[in-house]
Structures are given as structure tokens and as C-alpha cells.
Point group: C2
Chain length 290, copies 2
Amino acid sequence: MSGSVPFIRRLAVIGVGLIGGSLARALRTAGAVGEIIGIDRDEANLRQAAELGVVDRAAATVAEGVAGADMVFLSVPVRAMAGVVREIAPHLAAGCIVTDGGSVKAEVVAACDPLMPAGTCFVGGHPIAGTEHSGVGASFATLYQGKRCILTPAATTDRDALATVARMWEAAGSEVVLMDPEKHDRVVAAISHLPHMVAYALVNAVEGYDRFEESILRYSAGGFRDFTRIASSDPAMWRDIALMNREGVLEMMDHFAAYFGQLRSLVAAGDAEGLERFFRDSKESRDAIL
Amino acid sequence: MSGSVPFIRRLAVIGVGLIGGSLARALRTAGAVGEIIGIDRDEANLRQAAELGVVDRAAATVAEGVAGADMVFLSVPVRAMAGVVREIAPHLAAGCIVTDGGSVKAEVVAACDPLMPAGTCFVGGHPIAGTEHSGVGASFATLYQGKRCILTPAATTDRDALATVARMWEAAGSEVVLMDPEKHDRVVAAISHLPHMVAYALVNAVEGYDRFEESILRYSAGGFRDFTRIASSDPAMWRDIALMNREGVLEMMDHFAAYFGQLRSLVAAGDAEGLERFFRDSKESRDAIL
């Protein structure tokens, strides 16, 4: 792969953490990119990104960082996305594509799209990949291998720009799926945002259980730790996701609460048959996605 | 370890699956046991246990299997435990210790203890270890290494028998913790039973979400799969646990629902500070158990 022609001449990555850093590594490994410029308000993280060779050069300012780039990748908290686009807009070269990796799309696309200067294009995106770790030190080139990346074009999105962003994610090893931003937000509310809400609430509930003098979390074993892994995710990032996809998250929380309440009724009633059916349905659905 | 003296002369394992099979393997590796007899109503599984050398011999009947054993380990569904004890009681040798690996203790201990003949002893136990797989083919000698095993002696439990069971689990690599059966049931309701109820309900909720024509489970990635791993656990086993630890499970389900409802209110109110605090508290608790 490293012998292929770099179809991205200069990539600017704003936010060189797990997501941005892993994309940079993947595109470099694939030979898809000429030069990578890093931009990050966390100076220590940016220095590390340069030292690790994840970026070729750390930019001192956002203006300098995006100058001459044909592709800009935004990997900042979803609530910060529009502010960053507003800041970089005057400095973008003609033909530049700006795309993002945020977990919420409807509000982000609606806010960023109108901010783009003529002759440039915004393409909303969301790689369905990640770990509970943060920062460039946690990034790795294969994070996106075999994963899906959802791109959420608006009606106005330039088709060539969309094709280039799709090619970028394919070069990183992902399968690209197109979806409208509203559907994206409902889908990820179900498969990602809801599980995070559940995991965060579960850990707090168990920690807050005060029937005994000792914390019972000390008795937790591998199953509990695996189950609650995602509760170790970045709180500020998840605060923003909950705020930006509020409607989708609330819908899924209520949807889950109804199923949880149904299970509670089966337990309370001691309904052996109903319990076994509930558990068996779940096992079958879960086994089917392995 | 394999040079140590076998302090269990003959071990009968009733239910040679993941739990019973792994204990047999661990004790043999540790040189803690002379002979291992397997008993299982699933004939194919029992044959496999003998073929794999997990047991030295498969018993044709329960009576024959426990005859002459100084230790009997019960690894059958918790609702079947008392019935098995009733069945084996007339065939136990004097001094025999019967212990179990069930996930519920108060009802099991209360039911089994009175069934034991004079000169024999029941010791309730529960190794906090497992995987989502079942059967002797899934068993392995290191399952209990570094894990906790909770023993739940009753007031009448013979101290020497308790010490022998503790020594057995230590030989298998576990740290033994003593706890009264009622506390045990609340602790595991929190760290194990509740997460299973949540995972089962979550998978059913996502599968049952019908806003779109396609099943959105197909978009799930590693995080969702890890999070819902325990929803692939044996439905009949979890039906029995929910029935046998009903009070503890209901208490924890309600306790969780209160925290989940609190989080829902924060999302609905768009309370950025409250959300971040909720997530941060959870992350801190979870990171502390790593």
C-alpha cells in the first residue's frame, strides 16, 4: 500500500488524539497522504504527536495549520466543531474539503455547512470505532480496519468531495456507509450513546449502593469490568454528545427503560417462562452480530 | 504444584461444564486431587469430559458417582441444587463434604443444609469467575486464577469442612472470601445479576427499535459487542438466578433505575455541568477497580 499515490496532498488534523491520530497513522501507512500538519490546543499532546511522527509538523496557529491543506479533519468535541470551522474558514485554500469525526451529525452538519466559504466543502463523517482511551499516545494505525465509517452528506454536499472523503476512509481500512444526518443520530443513539448512558448509570448505581459498610465494587470481576469499560470514556466528550444528540438519546433511554421495566415485571412475577424467553431472544440477537 | 500431596482423595463433580470442568482441571494441575469422577445428565458432555481427561471416569449413576467421594462439587443450575442434594444424600460416605458453585446462596444454603446426613457437611460457595460460554469444551485450568471465591458458611457449618473447601479454591488459584449468604446475594445482585439484566434488556431494546426498516444492530461495533457479551449467557441459568435471587435482583434493578432516571433528567434538562459530574464520578469509580 505504501507505494500508492497520495491522493491527499496536505492533510491538516485538528485535534490529534485517539481518532485524529489514528486516522493520520492509517493514511500514512496506506500512502494516501503527502504531508500531515497537526493542530491541537493541548500543546503537550501536539508535541507528542510530532515526536511520534504521527504528524510531520505541529502548527503554531490554526491559520498556519490549515493554509494550503486540501483536506482538513476535525476531531474536536462535537460542541466545539462549529466554532473551529468559523475560525478556520477565512484561511482555507480553494477546493479544500473539511470533514469531521464527531459522534453527532445533524446539529454539526447544520451548523458547519453554512460557515464554509465558496469553493470549499464540508462533509460530515463518523467512524464507528474507538477505545476508552484518549490522546495521541492511544492512537494506532489499525483502529479503523474493518470498521464502518458513516458519512452524512447534505443535499448541497459536493459529490466529488464526498467521494474523496469516502476514499480516505477506505484507505484507512473502513467500509463507508452513507446515511442522512438524522438517521445517523438515531442509529448511534441506539448502538453507542445508550450503552454509554447505561454503563455510566450502572457504575454510579453500584458505587452508590450503601447497604454494606464496604464498597462492593471491590468484588467485581472480569465480567463487570468488561461491561463497564465504556464508563471510563472521557466525561467532557460524553457530556457534549448527550447535549448535542439530546432528542435521540432521550428517545433511546425511554425505549430501553420500557424493556428494562418489562424485565422487572417478569422478575417480580417470578415468570419462569417469560424470563427464559426474554433472555433467549436477547441471546439470539446478540449471537447474530458476532 | 503438581508434586504436592492430594488433600482430596476422590472428587465427584456433578455437572462437568465450564465451572465444574475448570475446577477439575485446576485441581488436577495443582496436584490437589487423587481421582475425579464426573456426573452429568448431558451424556455427550460427560463423554467429552472423559475423553478430554477432565474426569478420570464418567459415572453411570449419581449413586455410583458419589460413592466413596470425600468431596462432591455441585455445578448444576441453582434451582436444581436441592433436588440433587436430596438424590445424593443416601449415598454419601461418612465425612463427605458437599459444596457448590451456584450464583445464589441464601436459598441454596437454606434448602441444602437440612438435607445433609449426619457426619457430612454442606458448604455454600460461589467462584466469581466465568465466561459467556458453556460446557466442558469451554473449561480451562486457569479460569479461577487470581479470582475471588466467596464461601458462605451457615452457623452450623463444620469449621474443618469449611477450611478444606477454602483450601480447594486456593489450590485452584482463587482468593477465598467468607460472607454470610444474604450479603453474598446482595453483592452479586449488584456486580453480576444487575449487569446481566441490563445487558439482556439493552440488546432486546436495540433489536426492538423499529424506527427504520433495517435492524440497526448491524451497525454495532466492538464497543457494543463487548458491552453486550454477557447477554450471550445461558438463558436457562439466568432465568433460575433471577427467580432464586428475586429480592436482591429487584432491589438492584430499582436502585439502577433511579440512577438511570437521574441521568435522564440531566439529559432532558441539558444540564452540562450535572452531566459531566455524573460521567466523571462514574469514570473515577470504574478506573479505580482496574
